[in-house]
């Protein structure tokens, strides 16, 4: 593993971890996250009502 390899690995891993941590913080401090933050897993297509 070369020094450049270490730099790329650590920058990539810590960069992604930092961004994910920032998002967790934003969701946890959101005023109404459970109602307003969504993903396909929790969005209910309207057609399923029929």
């Amino acid at each position: 593993m070369s020094p450049t390899g270490w730099i790329i690995m650590l920058t990539s891993v810590f960069g992604m971890t930092a961004l994910f941590s920032w998002c967790i913080f934003k969701v946890l401090t959101h005023k109404d996250a459970s109602d307003q933050i969504h993903s396909p897993a929790d969005i209910d297509p309207h057609d399923q009502d029929d």
């Binding site: 790329i8 690995m9 990539s12 992604m16 459970s34 897993a41």
Partner: protein, 561 residues
């Protein structure tokens, strides 16, 4: 009360991450990264994440919710609603065929995950290992066990060459059914359609919240084991974890020429358009951007929903699983247990998606309770894949309902028939995974790239940035970057167009490997022919839907005095 709220917010993070994480993170990313320059690949990857992935994810959420307000949930309807022109609906055809065709091969990999989980937990893998070890000399027992579990995939997935398979035709189908992945494929296919037929979204959400922490925990355990492997075979000191990490992260690419490994320099790897196309393609694939899936789901959201943060949360959770876990586990393990030549040839001969199935069993042989964790890991991957594959079906279902006025059940049945043909095609034409690999390239890279380029140009220049960004900002608590309008108007389209033009020049006009295969290999011609026929079929359906929408819109005017 406070802890309850905290718990429900944590549940939101798990649900968002759970629906974003899939096979692309643990199985596709490591192979694509390694085949395109290892550490050098991370530079186009990060650039693509920031200036293409995130902005286009926002574009899809905003366009989707805007279309939903106009009463449309499918991409053809949304494009038509934005411009008011019928021909725009045909752009949406791409957003229908991409997830449908990807589903056809994705469900096969899903079946492999389930098959591996079953094999580990039922003791089948232990039987294979024991049989191989009994036949091996005393000092080669561990290696013999690892070799046996690696060879298992070749027969289970039907990758073995024709001459090793002893027969073709009906016997081959029988063999795939009795010893291969076909029963698992049928099970996965059925379970997907039962879930989507009944519309059990709440169950999936619940599953995500429980399976996600378990997958994270399991992946962390495997990561720790991989990082502490050291040099498992003292007779082969080069096969060490440090060299494995170096193979993944050093900014040096590798090519296999006449069976020997040839290094490709950092700048040479970066000067290949294929590297940039693959990086953008991987970002699109794993973020589910450029599929049309997000557009459909966003159409069901309300104006007070925070789609900006929803989008970034999914993207960042996905990036974390992909880079921090996927990138650290599979390739270092593959380097130790398969060797560098096999990593490159696996990517060239049999889709890079197969690498995880070849390499990880080696790690489980070195883990305490390895077969239990092996089963758990593949089962959790299967769960993660289910959440992704279900979402791939929704855009076409929404279109069949609103475009052709089919009931949900009728739409699911028609789609089930179409995807069954494709899934069987992938499963039965599995030699060398040629069909899977080329379907992945032409839809998972090429078509997604094309649609994403069209979407961002459409958003910035047809829908208009003011209208689009207003939609995105509605309900958003986070501040959108001030540079976003500039990025969406100039940087992203220019980046995508330059890479695409560069790739066309390098691959199409200079006969690159995918074009050469298209010219000479009948299986590849059949695969691309299948994609074209599916596209034409959906294009015809879009045409019929547009005529129907026009008729509906004209009816009240005729009735009014």
């Amino acid at each position: 009360m406070a802890s309850e709220k905290w718990g429900s917010k944590l549940g939101v993070i798990l649900a968002v991450t759970g629906s974003a994480v899939g096979l692309g993170n643990f199985l596709r990313f490591p192979g694509v990264a390694c085949a395109n320059g290892g550490g050098a690949f991370m530079i186009p990857y990060i650039i693509a994440f920031l200036i293409v992935g995130l902005p286009i994810a926002w574009v899809e959420w905003a366009m989707g919710r805007y279309g939903g307000k106009k009463g449309f949930s499918s991409a053809p309807g949304i494009f038509r609603a934005i411009t008011g022109k019928d021909r725009s609906a045909q752009i949406g055809t791409l957003a229908l065929i991409i997830p449908v065709i990807i589903y056809m091969w994705y469900v096969s990999i899903e079946a492999w995950c389930l098959g591996y989980a079953w094999k580990y937990w039922s003791g089948g893998m232990q039987t294979i290992v024991t049989a191989a070890q009994q036949a091996a000399p005393t000092d080669g027992k561990i290696d013999a066990g690892i070799q046996a579990v690696q060879n298992y995939l070749l027969h289970f997935a039907g990758i073995v060459p024709e001459n090793e398979n002893t027969a073709s035709g009906n016997f081959r189908i029988l063999r795939q059914f009795t010893q291969g992945s076909l029963p698992f494929l049928l099970f996965c296919f059925t379970i997907n359609f039962i879930l989507i037929y009944r519309g059990i979204n709440k169950g999936i959400e619940w599953f995500c919240r429980w399976a996600m922490p378990a997958l994270l925990f399991c992946a962390l355990l495997i990561l720790v084991r991989v990082l502490t492997l050291g040099t498992p075979n003292p007779a082969n000191p080069d096969a060490s974890i440090l060299n494995g990490l170096g193979f993944m992260w050093n900014p040096v690419g590798h090519n296999l020429i006449d069976g020997g490994l040839v290094q490709v320099s950092f700048w040479e790897a970066l000067s290949r358009p294929q590297t940039w196309l693959a990086a953008a393609g991987q970002i699109f694939f794993s973020l589910s951007v450029g599929f049309g899936i997000i557009m459909t789901y966003a159409s069901y959201t309300k104006k007070e929903d925070d789609i900006a943060l929803s989008s970034v949360s999914a993207a960042s959770g996905n990036g974390f699983f992909e880079v921090a876990l996927g990138g650290m586990i599979v390739i270092p393990a593959a380097f130790i247990f398969l060797g560098p030549e096999s990593i490159i040839s696996a990517g060239e001969k049999a889709s890079s998606l197969s690498l995880g199935f070849l390499a990880l069993p080696g790690v489980f042989e070195y883990m305490p309770a390895g077969h239990f964790f092996g089963g758990l890991f593949f089962f959790l991957l299967f769960i993660a894949a289910i959440t992704s594959s279900l979402s791939m079906l929704q855009p076409a279902i929404a279109f069949l309902e609103e475009g052709l006025d089919l009931s949900r059940q009728a739409a699911v049945t028609l789609l089930g028939f179409i995807t069954a043909i494709g899934a069987l095609f992938v499963s039965l034409m599995s030699h060398g995974l040629t069909v899977l690999d080329h379907m992945d390239f032409w839809t998972g890279n090429f078509c997604i790239y094309l649609l994403a380029t069209i979407e961002v140009i459409f958003f910035s220049y047809v829908m208009g940035l003011d209208r689009g960004l207003k939609e995105l900002a509605s309900g958003a608590e986070m501040k959108l970057p001030k540079i976003l309008p500039f990025v969406l108007k100039y940087i992203t389209p220019l980046f995508l167009l330059i890479i695409f033009g560069w790739w066309l020049k390098d691959q199409v006009f200079s006969n690159g490997p995918y074009i050469q295969a298209l010219q000479s290999d009948p299986t590849v011609q059949l695969t691309v022919g299948f994609i074209i026929i599916t596209t034409l079929f959906f294009s015809l359906l879009v045409h019929i839907a547009v005529r129907r929408w026009n008729k509906i819109e004209a009816t009240p005017q005729e009735e009014s005095p």
